[in-house]
Amino acid sequence: MTFALNTDGLPNNNNDQEGPTGLGLGQTRLGRLVSASGRQLLDKLNSARKNFPMKVFLLLLGFYTANALATILGQTGDWDVLVAGVVVAAIEGIGMLMYKKSNSKSSCFESPLQYKEEDKYQKNVFQVMDSLLSSEGDSQRTQYPYVTGTSVIGIKYKDGVLMAADMGGSYGSTIRYKSVERMKQVGKHSLLGASGEISDFQEILRYLDDLILNDSMWDDGNSHGPKQVHNYLTRVMYNRRNKFDPLWNSLIIGGVKNGEKYLGSVSMIGVHFEDNHVATGFGNHLARPILREEWREDLTFEEGVKLLEKCMRNLLYRDRSAVNKLQIAKITDEGLTVSQPYSLKTYWNFAAFENPTVGAEGSW
């Protein structure tokens, strides 16, 4: 590598540089190159005139020595290849020494060196791009979820917002963990529920801790409410998906600030909306229809819990990732309470459960 670099310091390598020069670096640079190499040539000629007889003598001596070496060693036919190798190596070695010297002498003439640096840089860029683009590169990103939680459901009710989530953590399709808390408080007024990658959820909670800490450090009576947190999370999720490094979650943000109820949702690619009732994952298919039928603006706390339990029971029956251990969280102007984990009563002796393949010909 160094060898190649050093020999490139010579003016006759200027031909190589015509590519970049032609690419729009301008006539002036080319002109400078030409005049500089002219000047160098003149220098060379001048220095060549010095010690001229000595140089002629050395040239002849070199010619003689090379001939003699080749003839003597080459007399043994078997050695031909070996001798050729040695001679080539010697010539290259001398060349390297010579050119190294001349390079340092012409260091004031620096544009070829500059180009070489750029080349090196570009080579690095290409290497990086290669590793980014190759599918087998060692990616440092969460490309697939590992431990995941299933649906979360949130509803507004008379005094605030209620949210329900079970406590299962699935490793692929294995329900690996049974006590994962998937609803957390954010600041004074907000509640965050998450389904999807549990570790990404934990990272989001770290972001939010920073956010709330910085906000409260102002100590000026202003604080982020659920709307601000929701919008912030939307920006975070969309930003990460733009980096092709999404946080693999569907989030639900609920809260009350100054008597104003708020409930919204964000997906892993930044899709966001507000509604009176929201759900993630399977909940969208199994719980939302029930909520559309039965949700009212003036639900009491008891009615709200009952409605959530109905939805959770449905999910428990029909979502294979759901577990029968859930929490319900309530957030009002007074603050947040998350229930102790508890189970729902289930009844598995429905005819359809006992013989599920009846009427579903061909399934198992």
């Binding site: 102002w218 009576g221 202003n222 709307k227 601000q228 919008n231 912030y232």
Partner: protein, 272 residues
């Protein structure tokens, strides 16, 4: 010839503990034409005097809308004022992008003050030569702040900056206790009266002043000239009817101004 040894560099202290360059910057605020601000519980009004440099030119804009809930009035170097209001606009819009809600006024003012402070502590910079009256509305109500080139900031019920502002300050000091409960229109009226004090007998017309309002249910807006003229006529503050009152107030204000200047000679006027 007298030459101050300690004023060639922003970061050099005088043995008396003063930073002359910073004080000169605050002096620049006093050279600019007057700007005043006052607030009630729900509204803030900004007003300023328009002075043109020559008979042939128009005057410079001295009140800027930063966002729907914030606006500023400036006195001093208008160019610096524009740079700072552009900074404030971008801070507001970035906050709005991230949180979909208005930036609290107090926070913007702190960021602005920090920006001004950096210029008093770097040898290769100069302090901003502009004072800003920042009017805004947020969760915690209506606010009026004054930002100084020294990096200091203060919250006020009512304040005036710029040339001959002492007269307006005197007027405001006499009246400020009732501002809290004032209606929007009463605030504007007091703003016009205060502005007239700074004119020293010159006739107040809509062409020599600009008025802007922000308040609950009302985005920051600069009142157009016809509206202002209408209000001047309605309140009869043009200065001719109340000529005697103006002369009295003007005289008092002048005395107070001299007194203030005398006081400022001794102590470092950092608290302005």
């Amino acid at each position: 010839m007298f030459r101050n040894q300690y004023d060639t560099d922003v970061t050099t202290w005088s043995p008396a503990g003063r930073l002359f360059q910073v004080e000169y910057a605050m002096e620049a605020v006093k050279q600019g034409s007057a700007a005043i601000g006052l607030r009630s519980k729900t509204h803030v009004v900004l007003a300023c005097v328009n002075k043109s440099n020559s008979e042939l030119s128009s005057h410079q804009k001295k009140i800027f809308k930063v966002d729907d809930h914030i606006g500023v009035a400036i006195a001093g170097l208008t160019a610096d004022g524009r740079v700072l209001s552009r900074y404030m606009r971008s801070e507001c819009i970035n906050y709005g992008y991230t949180y979909e809600s208005p930036l609290p006024v107090g926070r913007l003012v702190v960021q602005l003050a920090d920006k001004a402070q950096v210029c008093t502590q770097r040898s290769w910079k100069r302090p901003y030569g502009v004072g800003l009256l920042v009017a805004g509305l947020d969760e915690s109500g209506a606010h009026l702040y004054y930002n100084c080139p020294s990096g200091n900031y203060f919250e006020y019920q009512a304040f005036a900056i710029g040339s001959r502002s002492q007269a307006a300050k005197t007027y405001l000091e006499r009246k400020f206790e009732k501002f809290t409960e004032s209606s929007r229109d009463d605030l504007i009226k007091d703003a016009l009266f205060a502005i007239r004090e700074t004119l020293q007998g010159e006739k107040l017309t809509s062409s020599v002043c600009t008025v802007a309002v922000v308040g609950v249910g009302e985005a920051f807006s600069i009142l157009d000239q016809a509206t202002v003229q209408g209000l001047i006529n309605e309140f009869e503050v043009s200065g001719e009817e109340g000529g005697a009152a103006a002369a009295v107030a003007g005289g008092g204000g002048g005395a107070a101004e001299e007194g203030g200047a005398a006081v400022e000679q001794e102590a470092a006027p950092m608290d302005i």
